[in-house]
Symmetry: C2
Subunit: 156 residues, 2 copies
């Protein structure tokens, strides 16, 4: 049976796929010391095209979560910033022949998928599934999909 156990999202484990966006690590103090700026955490790469901000409102899913589809955007990176403090599920894969990997955020983390990274669709686990998304704005399709021959299940 194709099962995955979600692991805690860390910058080190996620490095092959993208960036973790959180308030850990180095920062600059700004605004008279009232604010920490954790500076420039994402490899935003929209290939020279416009970079935009969209808002996604996704229906929450539940664990165990079954999926057989992954996708990627060959023309640009894609950042998902939760507008809630709820953990969400992140599914990524190095390629279509390797085992996918499931991560669970800690409720104070966004992610930036590097350009071309295979990933599952947006999977909040709690309502409202509200995210800001920073990605390439363009007129081309910028989407490839792959369906696994048999489904995977992310365990709860």
């Amino acid at each position: 049976m194709n099962t995955l156990s979600p692991q805690p999202l860390t910058a080190q484990a996620f490095a092959p796929f993208g960036d973790v966006l959180d308030a850990t690590g180095d920062f600059r103090l700004i605004n008279d010391g009232f604010c920490q700026r954790h500076h420039d955490l994402a490899q935003v790469d929209t290939g020279g095209s416009k970079t935009g901000i969209s808002i996604f409102q996704a229906q929450p899913r539940a664990l165990p979560y079954r999926f057989d589809l992954i996708e990627r955007h060959p023309e640009g990176s894609q950042a998902f910033i939760p507008m809630t403090q709820h953990p969400f599920l992140v599914i990524v894969a190095l390629n279509t022949t390797s085992q996918p990997v499931a991560f669970l955020t800690n409720g104070a983390q966004g992610i930036n998928l590097h350009r071309g990274t295979w990933h599952g669709v947006l999977t909040p686990l709690h309502a409202p599934g509200l995210f800001a998304v920073v990605d390439r704005i363009g007129t081309t399709t910028n989407l490839e999909e792959y369906r696994y021959p048999s489904a995977f299940t992310v365990l709860g």
Copy 2:
């Protein structure tokens, strides 16, 4: 006495200053109908320089809130996306001689300040004051400050 009453943040009222980033208005259904994409809501303008994502962790403030400083970034827009569902205070001004305006978000809104918009420092009203910020990454100062001759107070 220089007092301001915060008004609800709406796209119409905020239009002279920037964009409201929320899940209202038109959308495209993606991910087999599981997700609404409210597409390309912000005028991201970093003047040809790199656009980056940073994480700000700001100390919460309380109302009434007294301020005499506003600032602007002449070289780029700046988006603030709350990573919580807490309302936050937004102070903006058309110019240094006009009365500043205070808005209160509804807990499901981010903002994008247009390039050059005068604004107060980041003012969450609840902990954690955690925001993703999309702005210009560069080596120049990209900051102008103005101090009012007498302070304003935003009423609670």
